[in-house]
Structures are given as C-alpha cells and as structure tokens.
Symmetry: D3
Subunit: 230 residues, 6 copies
C-alpha cells in the first residue's frame, strides 16, 4: 500500500504536471471514442497496450471480459455499455480477451469451483455458450491449445451477446456502431483482431478495415478460431 | 480506430520492448496485491494515477464504481472480487470514486433516466442507499457541492456493501483484509483517502496507516463526508 | 365448450379413424424435424398453414412469438428449444410472426399496458430491442405500415436472441442448424421468408435455399424490413 | 424444409381458397373462446383433436403444458394468459396433457438432466409440486403406470397454479371463468376430462357439465388420478 | 430500551421461574403443532390471543401475513413453511389477518408508496391477486368496509398461494394437512375463522370442525367475504 | 386445534377483558418502539421474554432470524423493516437469535438439506457469510460449542446486512437508529446482548448503554463470539 501511496505522488509530480492542461480540460467532461471491455486481470492494462491517452477509453472490466445477453444479469455491465453508447455516443466497441486468462481456465474445470468460489461459478455459467461450443467442437484439444481456443471463442460469444442489447441492436442497423473482437497475448505484447471475412484472428493491419458488425460472423464449421493456429 | 491500432504497435516497440522480461514472467501467472474498483469513466486510469506497474492491480470497472450488496446482483462484480480475495489472495481493496462522475450525476436526477436509459436507471437503483442518505442528510446542498458529497458518500456505501460478501466478511474477522475508500479529483490529479478515525477524506500521508476495516466507520451524524470540506 | 366436446368425437370418428396407424406409431415417440415458434394468436395454426402432418412440428407458442436472450427469462421458452435441439435433434427452427399481431400492437403503445395488463407489459419489455430499433429507425411510419415493420423486425430480433442459447450457438458452428424468419399474412394466407442475401422478406421459392444461419443478417441500414415493401 | 414450403402452397390453394371469407374476416381481429394450454409435443395438434376452426383457440405451448405459479417465472406464459383473459375476454381455459409426454418422463428422472439439458432441468423444477406429490403418494407405481399418473397429476397442479394469477383469481370469484383439466391419449385419439365431483378423469359426456372452477378439487387421498384406472 | 431490559429480568424471575421445567424440556427441541402465519403488526400477539404456551406455535410474521405463490419470492416465507411441514411434521396451518392492518391499507393506495417505501411497494405487488379481486368485485365499497373486505379476502388469497407449495400440495392430497383462514379483530379481541361450507367468516364453534383443505373454497360470486357482514 | 379455539375464548374472557381499554386504544393504530427480528421457532416468544405489552414490539419472524442484504431477496423481510423504520418511525432494532436453533443446525450440514428441503437450503445460502466465517475461523470447534458460535456470529452477520438497507443506512448516519444483537438461551431464560466495546455477548446491565450502531463492530480476530465463552 505504501508503494501505491508513493505512486500517487509520483503521478502528480510527473505525469500530471506535464499534462495538467489535458486534465483541466477533462475535468469538465469526458469524450471517449471507444468502449473497451476487458478482463480484470492485472496484466491487462487497456491504456498501456493501446497507447491511448487518458480520456480516450471508456472501460468495463470483469472476470473473463464477459457481457451476458441482454436481460440475463443485473450487474454493472449492461448499464455501462448503455451509458457508453447512448449517453456518450461511442461508436466503437472492443471486447479484448487475453492469453492465460484465469476465468477461462475456470470455465474449463467449472465443477471444481462450485464449492470454493460459488460466485465465480455462477458468473461462469453465463459463458455456457462458450463452454458448450468448445466442448462439442474442439473435443480433440487439450492444455494450452484448448485454453487458447476457449479464450478466442469466448470473445466471439460476447460479440453475439452484445447484439441483443437494444441500444446496440438499433445502432448497428443504423450503421453507427462497430464491434471488434480482440485477443491480447501477454508474452509477446501482441494483439490479434478477429477478421470476419477470413474467419480468423489476425494482426490488425493499418489502415485496419473497420469491422462491419453486420459481417462479424463466426468462423465456418470446423475452422479453429484461435489466433495461434498456423 | 486507426489511432488505436497505431498505439498497439507503439506499445510493442516501446514499452513492451524495454520491459519484455516482466511480460515473460507475467505470462505464467499474475500476482497482484490490490483489488482496485473504480468507474468506467475514461478519465480514470488506475495504473496511471497510482503509478502501478502492469501486474500490480486487479481491476473492476463499472459505471459508478459500485459493488451492490451480496446477492443483490448476478453481474460480474461479485465473481471478480471473490476471485481476487479467494483465488489470488489479495488483501487490500480500494474503491475509488472520482470527481465529475456521470453515474453520480445520474443518481441525482434518477427519474429522467428511466425512459431513455433503462439499464442505467436499474443499475443506479442499486445505489439507493447513497441516494437516500444524501437526500435526507444533505438537503441544503446543491450543484457541485451536492455532487461531491454524493460521490464521497457513495464510496462509503460500497465499503459497507463489500462487508456483506462471505469471502470478505470472513477475511476481515481474520484481520487479513483492508478496505479503503478513495476519491480521485481529476482537475488536480489528487487522491483523497477516507480516514475513519477523523471521519473525513484526507490526503494519504506516508507511511499511511493501513485502514483497519473494523474501524472503517461512517462519519458521525451531520458531519459532511466530502473530501473538499474545509 | 359443447362444441369442443363434439369436436373431440368428430376427430376420433373421422381423422383419427382414417389415420389410426400413424397414431399408433406416434404413440411410441415423436420425431419432428422442425421447431416452429409462433404467436398464441388463434388465427395462426402452424399445422394448417404448412400442411404439416401430426408429428412433424414441435411447437412453442406465446404472445408475440418471442424468445428472449439466453438467461433473460426462466419461462418455458428456453427449455422447449433446448429439448427440441438437444433431445430431439431438430435441425430447423422457424420463428413465425403474423400480420395484425396484438402483441406487436401492444409493443407500440407499451405504457398503456402497465396498469391494466402488468404481465403483458413485463413480457413486452423483453422485446425492447425491437421497440427501440423501430422507434429510432422508422420514425416516419405510422399505422399499419409501422405495425408491419414492427412485426417483421421483431422476428429478426428473435433470431438474434436464439443465437445466444448454448445449444444453438454450438450447433450453428457445426453447420447443423438453420434459423428461419417467417411472417404469415392472415388475409392472403401467404407466408414470407426472410432472405438474408437480399435483405428482405420474400415468397419462399421451391426449392427454397435453406437459410444458412451464418448468413442470416439483418437488412442493411435504412432498408425497410417489411414483407410488404415494394 | 422443402416439404414445408410445398405445404404452404397447398394450404393456400386448398384450405385458404375454400375459406377465404373466414380469413378476410379474421384479418381484422381474433375472437377466440378458449385458451388452450398444451405441450410443445409434435403429436398434439389442438385444432385437430378438437376439430376447432381457425380463430377458435388461443394457444400456449411449452414443454409439459406448465403454468408456474404467479410470479415464479417471467417467460411468456403469464403474459399470454393475462392477455387471453383480460384483453380477449376468454372465459374457458383448458390445460391439456398427453400420454407419452417427454417432459413428464424427464420429471421422473430429473437428476439426469442437470448436466446435459440445464434449461429443461430448471424448467422442470417448476413442476416440483407434481414430482413431490407423485413421489410421496404413488411410491408403489412404476413404468407407464407411474408416467400416466404423473401426467394426470401434473395437469391438476397447473390448475392450482392458474388460480394464483390475479386475472384468474378475480374472474373465478365472479363466476366468469372455467378451468378444465384434460389429458389426450395419442394411441386412441381420446381425450379425458377431470371430473371434480367424481375425482377422476372421464370421457367428457355431452352436454358436458361445465366444470365449475370452485369445485375443481383434487381427488381424495389415496385415490389414483390416472385416466386409465379402472 | 431500558423497559425491555427490565422486562427480560421480570420474565426470568416470574414466568421462567414458575415454568422452568417446561423450558428445560424445550431446550432439547421443539414440537409445535401449528404453523401460525400473521402480520408483523405489534398489536397481534399469536400466543396471547390463542392462549398458547411457549413451544406450541411455529410463527412466520411479515407485513400483511402474506405467503406469495411457490417460486415467486426467495425470502424467508417458503423456507419457514417447508421446515414447519417437512421437518417438524406440523399438520395445521393458520393464516391470521387482523383489523386495521397497515399493509392492507397500503394495498388500497399502492401508487403512493412507490417513491417513499419502494420495498413495501414491491412486496405488496405480491398481493396483486387480492388487490385486483377487491377492485373488480367490491367497487361499491369504501372506507373501513372496503378495508375489512380486503383483509378478509387477502387471507383467502394466501390460502390459495399456500397450495402451490410442493410440501403442502402433497400433504393435502394425503389428507395430512389442514389450512385455516382467520381474522383477528383488535377492538373486540375476537377471532373469526373462514367456514368454507357457508362461505363466510364465523366465530369458531367448539368443537370446531377442522377445515378440510379440499373444501376450502372461496365464497360464491357476489358474496362478501368480510367477517363483519350481517 | 380445539385447544387453540378454547384458548381464543380464554383470551377474550381473561386478558382481553381486563385490558379492554388498551385494545380499544390500539384499534386505531399501533405505535411500537422496537422492531424485533427473531426466529420462527416455537420456543421464542418475543413478548413473553421481554415482558412487553401488546403494541410494543413490531415483529419479523422467519427461520434463523435472518435479514439478507438489501436487494438479495424479495420476500417480506425488507418490506417489514422499511415499514417499521419509515412508516412507524421505529428507532431500535433487535435481532434475536436463540440457542438450539434448527436453522443454524441446518447451516452446519447444508448439503444434506438440498434434496429434502430445497427451500430451506436456498434460504440458508443467504447465511453463507456466517457459514464461511465459522468454517474458516472456528475450525477447531464442534458439537454444541460450534452451534453456539454459529448462532452468535449469525446475529452479527444480520446486523451487517441491515446496514445495507437505504432506510437504515440513512437513519444511522443521522444517529436516529440503534441496532442490537441478542441471543436468547432457552434453558436458562437469559438473554445476552452483544457489547461492541468488549467484543462479546454480555448480560445487559441496567441502565444498558444503548448500542451506538456506529460502534457495533465484530469481535477482534480470533476472539470467540459466543455468549457462553468464559
Ligand atoms: Zn482474464
Ligand atoms: Zn464515474
Ligand atoms: Zn400475435
Ligand atoms: Zn409433452
Ligand atoms: Zn397488519
Ligand atoms: Zn431458530
């Protein structure tokens, strides 16, 4: 904790001091362009990996970067995304999973969590669509390969869930919102984006063709979704 | 979006390149010491304001940095904190509100949200304890002063809510967990921590006496909770 | 009621008598090929309009032919479709709306229902994605034209909701399930099927190209979804 | 699917053509007299077995023809029946179970469903009143005999559940609504109606004495409820 | 509070002292015969008005002596009655309303409670069956007469709700459980019991014919349910 | 039942007769000073053990004297306490557990209840905070000693839960509400009150210093909470 306290002062005397104009401006309101949904994992720092400045990313973080379907939960996820799209007019949503995700590991051995961590267990039931798909479609995989597929598929599941939210359902029809599926690989620092046309995760090229949400389709049958597949 | 893509590369060629040993190490697991609960607001960057390194903060972010009482919601909040305390062994929790918070502004004009943003409305009903307390105890305030009190009180409400979670309830009795109430002020870059003994928010001194959760009491009657009160 | 009783006997002495072998066979189990989801409306008779025989259609009927997203409700809808896909191995799902639908009329004047029919009101909140889309995208329409669009869009909303169910999510990836959006027009006895390629409802040609669920996309922005548009 | 498409045309050129006046009339509104609640099972066709014309039966269909008690679920069941009684003024409700019902078979081996079909499992928990009654009162039965009793009792359970709905509770007191318990036997094409006075299911005589809902009592203790008992 | 503390001592030196054998016996377990469900109202003391000894009444008390239908709520009501019937083997249940009930007054002016007492409001929505019945059947009444009818009808509503609970549903069929509807009138100290045969509340005669729950029917149409009707 | 009927008459001819003025006065309204929350157990009679007169105690009774956190349940508990504090202006709340409590026994062998008493099981999950604390902090205890600690701790858990209710959260800040933790020991007829300063249950002395809710702290780590500890 002392370290954190010290950090507060370092922030103020360094970063804040050299950017005080930005902060004064931000004090009156935020104007982010992107809703960034990612895991609570301490190794994922949205601003760091995107090099985004303060004020650019509206962020939702929970275990497993999950957004259950509209109406399924009454936690903070739905409110935050409704606020982002409706009140802030955000037109880009990124769901960003990450390698070595503890939540996805938990999803692969769900029964063991019921007793010891009942809230985690209940929450992961919300990813049943991911779990079932992986179980029925990738039964030959195991270990890290299985985990990676689960992480990659889970992000796509959340994209489908997002489409059931009224604000998103409507904005997509108006062509005013793009949904993006990302996976961040910790050991290489790379990010992969799902390319709906090629049905695979790719390194986002520049200029990245904005993913038209109407074309964000799941991969074709049998096609592994992992960003690591050759 | 192009800017973000460019940022991904900048991150990799700059920060990642100079810290690649840290990332290799982190690739095998996280070991954060602090659960940091804060708002989705784009102007609040937990790692930035605490100068914390990647891997140090496990982060929950939603609109209004709220943790409803145990059992009240089935969103990601409960799972993430259970995972933090039970699986990761985290022993420090910080709830960090912030100035100019849109969620707290919404709480002060709740009825107007019902039609346009029903999910935000429903979520803010979870802060009814804050709303009622403010309405009944600070009826003379208005404007920014009212907003600041609401922000400050709301953090304390969440601290009370946290205590109803089984993992927290038990760990507190064992003296193994500290709960901390913070408010971050955007225009000055300062953070204020609630001092239970003095019943007010203060600039955290170093060495900061870790807040014993058993002494984290609400301010005495009539005592304003704002960090801005003279 | 007397009429119904008389009908029971007529059925037995006429239809049953001439088909008793079929019924004997069916007595040991059902083997339907299609899950037919339609409105409770008395004017929609699934077997009649498809000329399907007893045993061919597994049927879910409620007000407005709605299937809320996975996890949003705990009524019979989810169980029936899970049973259809998982236990019966059904590989075709049809959601069939209809003209002059009372539920969709209700959706267009929702507030009036809150007091008099609270359960209908609550149920129609599950079609908020339809309501919002119609409100924001077809604000110039009114009367029957508005109703028709609402009916047509609502069927597409349900198709999106269906995709969030684990059994469906997984079967679609395996290419083993097709989702079909239909509207039945009472006064002409015609049925229109949504053609994802053309982004409109069309009279289903024979041989009808089975709708690949991966291509079941909503119409492009601004394109009216009604089956009646020229 | 091709068969269905062909059926659509056959319907239009045959049945619709000879009844087009009826359909034109129905196009402006429905006026059903009966709410028919039955199973999604493909072998149960309400209009066929009652020889009812299009427009005569308002129909709810789910797995097991169940209507959980008022407030217990938020699916389509409550809304449809509220609409039927309140908006359409329907004064007769029939709950119709059927022989060889898959849902009732599932109820008798509930634990086996938990893993494979969790939504079916959860839905059948709503029939716990039936399950417990059967388990405690018919412990000596097994096989088809047990299944038949379960089917018969389950219909009576739903009748009790119906009475808890406000619109029904009130209309019954006014003597304006009758509740009827039916079971349809597939292999013989017969329907049996519960006779509250005799405490057994009987072939409905004509003129059938309309079942006064105030007299719709469960059978006396020890008396088997099956329609097949000698 | 001091008065209460003094009372604790008076109890110990008076009542307890003269009944210490009873208390020693009770210390090892309870064996009540009756489940008594009544209002939280301070003027209703179950043991006092029935002259029952300690250990004779298992008691549920909430605002309005309500037991919502099975599955509708997850509060303590269902658990307490399940425990009473299943674990303690209780075979008599009494639901006891009372004159001048604040909860029933609230039910008659429900909208006014929404803002000020949202939890009371939500809870009274569980008595919608009572509210609707009274509104539609007793529209000519007002004032105390209306309140008395509401109180009397509400007890009958709870009796119907009780029947949907699995443990009760099953025990009733076995003839092992009786359900009783009572109203206690404060100013006269009298209790009235609902007589299903006569369809009215009467002074319970001795020997009171135990109310066969299978005959516990609501009054016939138009018949006022109040215990005060001439 | 006959005994109860006889009791009704004894009450009227004895107690009521000698106190009829009190009852006439009470007939117009209640004015209790204390909200008394206790177990449904037949051996706990609030008015008897406190020697309180009719009209003095507003009473909530359920299995285990539990008040789940705000929002966690929709049963009668929240409504009754909101009514007590808001409508009746009650300023003292007592949660009173008792020795030999069946609900707390159930909590210590929770898994065994899942099948036989599912509603009791679900309700006791609401006491998970108590269960976990006891399991992790008193692992060396067993038998009656373990039960007593569980009873004592459970009352303190409810006190924490109470603090999350908006009406209570606000009134506490105003210094207008006191929360009291009691345990009633059946075989001795004694009541113990939790003394926050001493971190133990003590015999309430007179004048009992009203427990300031802001000081109602859980015992320090390792300190047994039982009222029976030497
Ligand atoms: Zn993760
Ligand atoms: Zn904020
Ligand atoms: Zn319809
Ligand atoms: Zn069936
Ligand atoms: Zn009352
Ligand atoms: Zn107890």
């Amino acid at each position: 904790m002392e370290k954190l306290i010290k950090g507060l002062r370092q922030f103020q005397s360094n970063y804040f001091d050299t950017h005080h104009e930005l902060f004064e401006q931000l004090a009156h309101g935020q104007k982010p362009r992107v809703l960034f949904i990612t895991c609570s994992d301490s190794r994922v720092d949205p601003n760091l990996i995107t090099n985004a400045k303060v004020g650019e990313l509206f962020v939702i973080r929970n275990a497993g970067n999950m957004i259950p379907p509209y109406g399924a939960t009454n936690g903070g996820e739905g409110a935050a995304l409704e606020y982002a799209v409706q009140a802030l007019g955000i037109d880009q949503i990124i769901v960003c999973g990450h390698s070595n995700c503890g939540a996805m590991k938990g999803l692969l051995k769900l029964d063991k969590l019921r007793e010891e961590m009942p809230l985690v267990y209940d929450w992961l039931l919300q990813a049943e669509a991911t779990r079932r798909l992986v179980k029925e479609n990738y039964s030959t995989l195991s270990g890290e390969e299985l985990l990676n597929i689960t992480i990659a598929e889970n992000v796509l599941t959340q994209i489908e869930n997002l489409r059931t939210y009224p604000v998103i359902h409507s904005k997509i029809r108006q062509g005013k919102l793009s949904l993006n599926a990302w996976v961040y690989q910790i050991d290489t620092g790379s990010v992969f984006a799902y390319d709906a046309t090629r049905h695979e995760y790719v390194a986002p090229a520049s200029p990245l063709q904005p993913l038209d949400p109407e074309e964000l389709l799941p991969p074709s049958p049998g096609h592994p979704a992992s960003w690591l597949s050759p």
